[in-house]
């Protein structure tokens, strides 16, 4: 293991109050703290992935056209691409970043989670492939009752 990598992993572990599991994992809250404070998806995406070119499409967001409960809007992410890092953003809350998923070697891009949305807004997924390229897709989700107290 290279010394620099080892040291940065050590820093991550310390920041996470030394959870042994974090030694083998990437904690994007520690490696890209700015991304979690950004108000807009554009800023958050830049903080997390840099300003490299992003191709549109090739990923599917499964979300309701009209979400009745903004406190738990189901979001599904599917793709046939081989993706390693998948980040979820929205513009409905005070800050944009929701979660960053990382898949292991046998990872299948078929994920679901539930997010808060206090108003109608765009949901953006940006993902990094095994080929090192970035992919993204945007979908508007309408929310009838907001769910975030922010």
């Amino acid at each position: 293991m290279k010394r620099r990598k080892f040291l940065s992993l050590g820093a991550v572990a310390a920041a996470a109050s030394v959870l042994p599991a974090s030694l083998s994992a990437t904690d994007f809250r520690a490696t890209a703290p700015k991304a979690w404070e950004a108000a807009t998806s554009k800023e958050a995406i830049e903080a997390l992935f840099g300003s490299a070119a992003i191709s549109e499409g090739a990923i599917e967001i499964k979300a309701p056209k009209l979400a009745e409960n903004g406190g738990a809007v189901p979001i599904g992410i599917k793709s046939n691409l081989e993706l390693t890092t998948i980040a979820l953003f929205q513009d409905a809350n005070p800050r944009s970043a929701v979660a960053v998923f990382e898949l292991g070697e046998g990872g299948v891009v078929d994920l679901q989670t539930k997010i808060k949305m206090r108003k109608t807004a765009n949901v953006t997924v940006v993902a990094k492939g095994k080929d090192g390229k970035l992919y993204s897709v945007v979908q508007k989700v309408e929310v009838s009752i907001g769910g975030c107290g922010g």
Partner: protein, 97 residues
């Protein structure tokens, strides 16, 4: 937390329900409650990370996740570790059916 892990052909589907209020600083200020949210969730099989998530307070209360991966077999054990903004950890495991 609740973990369900089921093998369908060669793909393991995991459904995970965690327990956290997922309150960020904005919501804490409005509702006058303490900030409390999960920051990281890791899933491992046989010591290898199969899925992980860096998480923030805009996931819904008691976050739900579904994810899929290949390479495990029925009877393998999946271990979930979580950590919150205060550094408090939780762990649980389930057998893949």
């Amino acid at each position: 937390m609740k973990i369900k892990a089921k093998l369908k052909k060669d793909v393991t589907e995991v459904k995970l329900l965690l327990s956290s209020p997922m309150i960020g600083k904005e919501e804490a200020a409005t509702k006058k409650v303490a900030v409390s949210y999960l920051t990281h969730v890791t899933a491992k099989v046989g010591g290898k990370v199969v899925w992980e998530a860096s998480t923030g307070p805009f996931l819904s209360k008691d976050p739900y996740f579904m994810f899929n991966f290949k390479g495990a077999k029925a009877g393998d054990e999946i271990v979930i570790d979580t950590i919150d903004d205060k550094g408090a950890t939780d762990t649980d495991k389930a057998v893949i059916k």
